[in-house]
């Protein structure tokens, strides 16, 4: 009888211990946005003067064709990037061919997609992302540093390419600065826009090395 009771105790103890770790509620974590930035430390940003940025944001969706976001909200977000770039001493140009830097923006609207830096060729296979050919005679992207993105709905990506690179023969366009912004998808379109604008400002604030 004693052994039986002890077995009850052991079963109860085991069940309790196994389920003992308390996971925190993550609902508070969605009260604010996340901004991650990374850059190529070998690049001297003061050597660049002009940049080209499209007036629309590429939407990463499950649509069967490229979709661009170009309404007033999108333009406001693009202008936030422009304002920050200008404040850091760069000049926007309308001539893509002569620009020193290219900036592209993407917004993950519906998909959930994860990628690690150890798999750099995912860009080749992701169907509805910016085409390297948009920037010229390029076949792919190249990150000179480690990056790690976790793409979920409500994320925005800002990437800066070195269009002056001398490694064009490799046909891979180097991304020399990138910013991943998460937490932009709430039930309020106004809040989403406000967060997006604040997050863009934050991306530049935490990247003082961009300042000329």
């Amino acid at each position: 009888m004693t052994v039986k009771k002890l077995s009850y105790l052991m079963i109860a103890l085991t069940v309790t211990i196994v389920s003992c770790q308390k996971d925190p509620s993550t609902s508070d974590l969605h009260k604010d946005y996340l901004v991650y930035t990374a850059y190529d430390t070998s690049v001297n940003f003061s050597g660049f003067n002009t940049y080209y940025i499209p007036d629309s944001i590429l939407l990463m969706t499950d649509e069967s064709q490229d979709v661009y976001w170009s309404d007033e909200d999108a333009l406001e977000i693009v202008n936030a990037v422009v304002t920050n770039m200008n404040a850091y001493g760069y000049t926007r140009t309308e001539d893509k061919e002569t620009a020193d830097l290219g900036i592209q923006m993407s917004y993950v609207k519906q998909v959930t997609y994860f990628v690690g830096y150890d798999n750099p060729y995912w860009w080749w296979y992701y169907p509805y992302y910016w085409s390297p050919g948009y920037w010229g005679d390029w076949y792919g992207w190249h990150y000179p540093y480690q990056v790690y993105y976790g793409y979920t709905a409500g994320s925005m990506l800002i990437e800066m390419m070195n269009l002056e690179t001398g490694t064009a023969s490799q046909k891979k366009l180097p991304v020399i600065w990138d910013s991943y912004i998460g937490g932009l998808l709430t039930n309020s379109a106004e809040l989403n826009l406000t967060r997006s604008l604040q997050a863009v400002d934050q991306a530049f604030e935490q990247s003082p090395y961009l300042k000329k």
Binding site: A12, Q21, K22, Y33
Partner: protein
């Protein structure tokens, strides 16, 4: 609030199961032995990782009276501390930075051997002093956005304790248990830019004793 209610229900059910397994006339499961099942409230001391007090923990202990006053036994306990970190910018490396809010959690699971010196073992109130020695598993975690970063650590654990077992009917040795403890563990680790070097806690335990 909901989670606290769940913990309370789980604790009560567990205590009920323990008590149901014991016949009133034979309170001791094994002759000359004791068992404690406690809920505990833990207070981290000093500036530490996830250094916020909480009641997310329990303690299980059993032992044998090697003399009328001295017991030796074993224990296992667990505790989770959770702390909210407001939005801040951290430098992850020389080339990357991140601005986010976080939740830090520290889960501790010490286990090992225990010893006690007991007084007035025939009375209703039976005070004791004790010491626990063993190993401490601790997991440091940072939750942010949809990501959890964590590191598992191990360390040496020691914990002096004072307490009292309360038996309304001493002959049956079925009653309550109240204790206060200090614990020290040598665990160290790092998550993101947050490091931990040793763990110091103070806490209280309330439970059943038989």
């Amino acid at each position: 609030m909901k989670a606290k209610k769940y913990l309370a229900i789980k604790t009560v059910l567990l205590a009920a199961l323990m008590l149901a397994a014991i016949q009133p006339s034979k309170a001791q499961i094994m002759y000359d032995s004791y068992f404690n099942i406690d809920w505990q409230y833990n207070v981290p001391l000093g500036k530490a990782f996830a250094d916020k007090s909480s009641g997310w923990g329990m303690n299980f202990e059993g032992g044998y009276f090697v003399t009328p006053n001295i017991t030796v036994g074993a224990f296992v306990a667990y505790h989770t501390s959770i702390k909210y970190i407001p939005q801040q910018t951290i430098d992850l490396s020389s080339s990357s930075a991140m601005t986010t809010n976080q939740k830090h959690t520290l889960f501790q699971l010490p286990f090992g051997v225990s010893g006690r010196y007991n007084w007035m073992t025939e009375s209703i109130f039976q005070p004791y002093v004790g010491m626990k020695l063993g190993a401490n598993y601790a997991q440091m975690s940072s939750y942010y956005y949809v990501i959890k970063h964590y590191e598992d650590t191990w360390g040496f654990y020691m914990s002096p304790e004072i307490g009292v077992s309360i038996f309304p009917n001493p002959s049956q040795r079925m009653g309550f248990h109240v204790a206060a403890y200090y614990s020290y563990a040598t665990n160290s680790g790092k998550v993101l830019t947050y490091s931990m070097d040793n763990i110091n806690n103070f806490g209280i335990r309330v439970g059943i004793s038989f």
